[in-house]
């Protein structure tokens, strides 16, 4: 089963067309295996991107280098998934 330990979801509130373009460049970088949950399409919508822990430092460096402010929406995706799984198991047992 694929593990998401240490993977983060980063939210960017895009403030300019220039930032939007820089995020679109990031999106085209296949080597970083980024999973855009919300794509960089407009300055009116946030951008959410799942960043594998292996590329976290590089992606954050890229954002900081271009003065693109971001927040961490999900600190460790696997923690949420573990909670979700435990809850499902509990519900399943309760139903039985």
């Amino acid at each position: 089963e694929k593990s998401f330990t240490g993977d983060q979801v980063v939210r960017v509130d895009v403030q300019s067309e220039e930032q939007l373009k820089l995020l679109q460049v990031l999106e085209s970088e296949e080597k970083w295996n980024l999973d855009f949950w919300l794509h960089p399409v407009s300055t009116e919508l946030p951008v959410d991107v799942l960043v594998p822990h292996t590329h976290l430092a590089a992606v954050k460096e890229y954002l900081q280098a271009h003065n693109i402010p971001f927040t961490v929406m999900i600190d460790n995706l696997q923690e949420l998934l573990d909670q979700e799984k435990a809850e499902m198991k509990e519900n399943h047992l309760r139903e039985h």
Binding site: E1, K2, F4, V9, E30, D35, F36, W37, L38, H39, V41, S42, L45, D48, L50, M73, I74, L77, L80, L81, E84, E87, M88, N91, H92, R94, E95
Partner: protein, 307 residues
Amino acid sequence: STRSFNFGAYHRLETIYSWMDTFVAQHSNLVTKLDIGRSYENRPMYVLKFSTGGTKRPAIWIDLGIHSREWVSQATGVWTANKIATDYGTDASLTSLLNTMDIYMLIVANPDGYVVTHTNNRMWRKTRSKNSGYACLGVDPNRNWNAGFGGPGASSYPCSESYHGPSAHSEIEVKNMVNLIQSHGNFKSFISVHSYSQLLMYPYGYTCRGAPHQAELDSVAKAAVQKLSSLYGTSYKVGSICNIIYQASGGSIDWSYDAGIKYSFAFELRDTGRYGFILPADQIIPTASETWLALKHIMEYVRDHPY
């Protein structure tokens, strides 16, 4: 019993399918289960048909969870199906709707993907078909419809999350839906339910030009969203796919609209802004409840505006 079923929890495919059987048995005067074909990995695709009689009456299509990781969509489908069955006979408006129209609901539009999200990769979005010459699997089933197929906003790269596939309707899951809708021939509304980002959209996605009925669709969607928001204050945006998200070709509601189903809409259900696709299960019933108000508004409008 559907009475003991926990609508506020996420469930595996076999649990949902098993619930469907109980549900159909408990509401046999209203609900039937149609097997519309098999998925790529040979799983059955079941549509719940809500009908009070007659054949090929004007109908409303609702599919949910075509992107498998959007779990609140499928969970909302289960709750909504139950809501329709339990309110029939007590809610006068819904009863009148079902006395003239049928509702077809595909709760798990991408069963292979859904199983993968429970077993191998919670973040899986696509189908599971093999891509010749590539190790990565799957096609984005919402880029695979014959509506501007292969155009902007879809990828020709098989490893992309938005890969459009080798040809329109190449995905058997899409083809099964298309076959049912075409062979029926009397659908008046087509609603696709996704999550997350709180949007209610109408065609087009493959082009940014306005649809011929844009003004009417916009007004219906705005009124629907007003009802949705009245429950918990959830804020939604309304617009064409191209204008409020991005240009995306090969989408389901563009296909249905171009096939003559005027009242075509796509929902993106709620997001708390903190969890993305991992919306906690305690949000399922609030999400489904508010969505129901919008869905009901659209369905009533369709009933009251025959064409």
